[in-house]
């Protein structure tokens, strides 16, 4: 049974849960709890708050399961819920400044093609990403996390954040530039 379950796609499991097999929802929790916990921890430090948010994410996912289109990616869909809950939490705590106009999504950008070796970061950058992620803007932090840690494609990140694909490329580039600046300033620190 377990080996059969492990080969089933997320979307197939969702269809089964919607049809009445509630136990199968546990399989989705097994698959996504570690990933979503890692993702939310990049934005929220308190462990209790993190587990509360993850619980809300799965509850909302279950309640809204009938709205999910099985032709689309469940991965993007559940990450979208996690993103929304994280943003709501940060706004309530006053950590996140509400910006009514985001120029990243306002103006068109040249489309940045996703390259196969884009995910490779040199050792220094990877260490910097681990240690300095909290130093960069949440707007860039979330795309870097989704791309380098959760290994989502540009298309999937666009679906999670509800932004144009070209904007994903722009934010990844700018996020890396922010990290470069931190790297340079760290090297010049006495």
């Amino acid at each position: 049974m377990k080996s059969h379950l492990s080969t089933q796609k997320d979307e197939e499991i969702v269809s089964s849960v919607v049809e009445g097999d509630k136990d199968l929802f546990g399989e989705l929790i097994d698959r996504y709890e570690p990933k979503l916990t890692r993702y939310v921890r990049r934005f929220i430090q308190q462990p209790d708050d993190v587990s509360d948010i993850i619980q809300i994410v799965f509850i909302k996912a279950y309640m809204n399961l009938r709205s999910f289109d099985v032709e689309r990616s469940f991965n993007s869909w559940i990450y979208r819920i996690a993103h929304n809950e994280s943003v709501t939490y940060l706004k309530k705590r006053g950590n996140e400044k509400v910006s009514f106009i985001d120029f990243d999504i306002f103006l068109p950008h040249p489309f940045a093609k996703e390259e196969a070796d884009d995910r490779s970061l040199n050792r220094e950058m990877k260490e910097l990403l681990d240690t300095s992620l909290l130093s960069i803007s949440p707007k860039y932090r979330e795309v870097l996390v989704l791309y380098y840690y959760d290994e989502l494609s540009y298309q999937e990140i666009a679906e999670v954040l509800h932004i144009p694909i070209a904007t994903v490329g722009v934010r990844i580039r700018r996020g890396k530039e922010s990290l470069q600046k931190i790297l340079i300033s760290n090297h010049y620190q006495p």
């Binding site: 509630k22 136990d23 929802f25 929790i29 799965f58 509850i59 309640m63 009938r66 709205s67 068109p108």
Partner: protein, 261 residues
């Protein structure tokens, strides 16, 4: 099994939480689309009303008379209607942002497409008889706020020496022309010229635009021409107004008592 998993499965099996029925999502989605369509229709109505009012009272044709006159057109745009249109466009954009066809495009692109589409549809509607019908209906049923929407706009900080009238010629002779304006006002205009007049003498039924300025009770005409897209515009007849600048000839219009019909 983690604590979290156990907790969630427990609430699921006990029906403490249940799946929202599919029909509710269909309903919300339908309401969203209906909201977008309804807002778009109102936007188009208001925008076409602005175009219609500017056209019927002549302000739309100010650009034919120069750049400064164009500014007068902009100042004549009814601010309240314009603000309502802008607010509705923003509402449409906000509602549509939750749909993938919208968020996949930059905001500037979707706003531009939406505004352009609304402007084209509004222009088409302003050329039909819908607004004449709506105004007549409002007048017959005494819906005063709606009737007032069709009144001649008062330009914001009007420029000196710049004004425009549009009306149908109801009487014409060699020395006088009587115009009925869109709001029913009657203006008697007559020319006093020496030598050969180079001004167009309109025929009865002509839809004309008269450009000039008020001096107290008098409206001094600087230019007069047939209205483009006017209902009495004979096909192919694009006779232009020529003003004799050397002799500084002008046609004096006496703004006599206004009679509303």
């Amino acid at each position: 099994m983690t604590n979290l998993k156990a907790k969630i499965l427990d609430t699921v099996k006990n029906n403490t939480i249940t799946m929202i029925p599919k029909w509710k999502f269909i309903l919300y989605s339908t309401l969203g689309i209906v909201g977008i369509i309804f807002s778009f229709l109102i936007t188009v109505f208001l925008f076409s009303l602005i175009l219609f009012v500017l056209s019927r009272h002549g302000f739309m044709y100010m650009p034919f008379f120069g750049f400064m006159a164009t500014m007068h057109t902009l100042k004549a745009i009814p601010l309240f209607l314009l603000l309502c249109t802008i607010v509705l466009l923003i509402i449409i954009e906000l509602i549509s942002r939750s749909y993938s066809f919208s968020f996949r495009q930059p905001l500037a692109v979707t706003l531009l497409l939406l505004t352009t589409f609304a402007a084209i549809v509004s222009f088409i509607i302003s050329q039909t008889g819908i607004h004449e019908y709506v105004r007549e209906y409002a007048m017959n049923h005494h819906i005063d706020p709606m009737v007032r929407m069709y009144d001649r706009p008062i330009p914001f900080r009007p420029a000196e020496g710049v004004d425009i009238l549009r009306g149908e010629v109801v009487a014409s002779s060699g020395t006088s022309t009587t115009l009925r304006l869109f709001d029913g006002a009657i203006i008697v205009a007559y020319a006093t010229t020496t030598g050969t007049s180079t001004f167009m003498i309109p025929s009865i039924g002509d839809d004309v635009i008269v450009f000039g300025n008020f001096f107290g009770e008098q409206f001094q005409i600087l230019d007069i021409r047939k209205a483009p897209f006017g209902k009495h515009m004979p096909k192919g007849d694009m006779r232009m107004m020529i003003r004799d600048t050397d002799r500084q000839e002008t046609v004096k219009v006496f703004y006599s008592e206004i009679k509303r019909q």
